[in-house]
Amino acid sequence: MYVIVVGGGRVGYYLAKALLDEGHEVLILEKAAAIASIVSDELGSICVRGDGCEATTLASVGTNRADMLIAVTGDDEDNLVACQVAKHMFNVPRTVARIRNPKNENIFKTLGIDVIVNTTNLILESIEEEVPTHTLTHLRDIRDKGLGIVEVKIPPDAPTIGKPIRELSLPEGSVLSLVIRKARKPIVPSGATILEAEDQIIAVTSHESEEALRAALSGQ
């Protein structure tokens, strides 16, 4: 695959490196001369100095034959425009934009960007996972479906402990998929499965039902 990466900062650099290791043809476009020359020194001649939002620059690096353009500069608006120019002027089949402001996710979707990577939320989710007071953590979003995979940890004092799952009023739109218990094989829960303290429950849920699911499982 021929992949164009717009932005040669840390994200762009390591992304390009990973793509090269997988055997793809990669080109980095970087506006700042100083950064472009560092990347060239380290990765070889795969970095071109230029503005990835400009059609002339994109034309000069053969964007019309690119399979994918990934815009990972630090500015959301630049990433949006790079993807739109790639799509509308060069018919690049797949465009990926990094966003830092989570509010931009919907805007980018409406404006036709294929894949949006919300780095701020990714960082928040990883931190959330490490904070023990959180009963519910987000493991992964299921793209375009409004669903997510979450983990709910049953607190040691939860009133739901000892109850079978069928007695809990789980919200519609949530499915319990897996129960993980200390030192035991994970089980696929049924209505008869009885909750134990410290159970880790993996569930698929709509974003709206998240809070109701947490409340139903933890009884709080």
Partner: protein, 135 residues
Amino acid sequence: MKVVIMGCGRVGARLASLLEQDGHSVTIIDNDSYSFRRLAPDFKGTALIGNGIDEDVLRSAGIEEADAFIALTQGDNRNVMASQIAKHIFNVPRAVCRIYDPLRRDMYAELGIETISPTTIFAQILREKLESQGD
């Protein structure tokens, strides 16, 4: 007409005054309050500090009731992003956008944004001036 202008530079500030003189209601947004010094001393519209590519800022500028949105910051990309938000998220009837890069201007014009490239226009004016005989 209710107009929201993003970017209080020389053009933005002047346009705000002109539109106000014509009886329109004007809200002007800039992320630096220092830029508002350019507004005419008798400007009676609203000057709002904030980033015009932020939906919430646009909402507090009254974008939902606006008849027109004009993007005049120094950044082409910021201007096109804000205009697209105005047009496609808030359904503002007219979104006008300054884009210095003529190629980008052409593309966004095709995508339905009203665009103006000062680069093209000014170069044209200069050419006409130099090539005109007589004066």
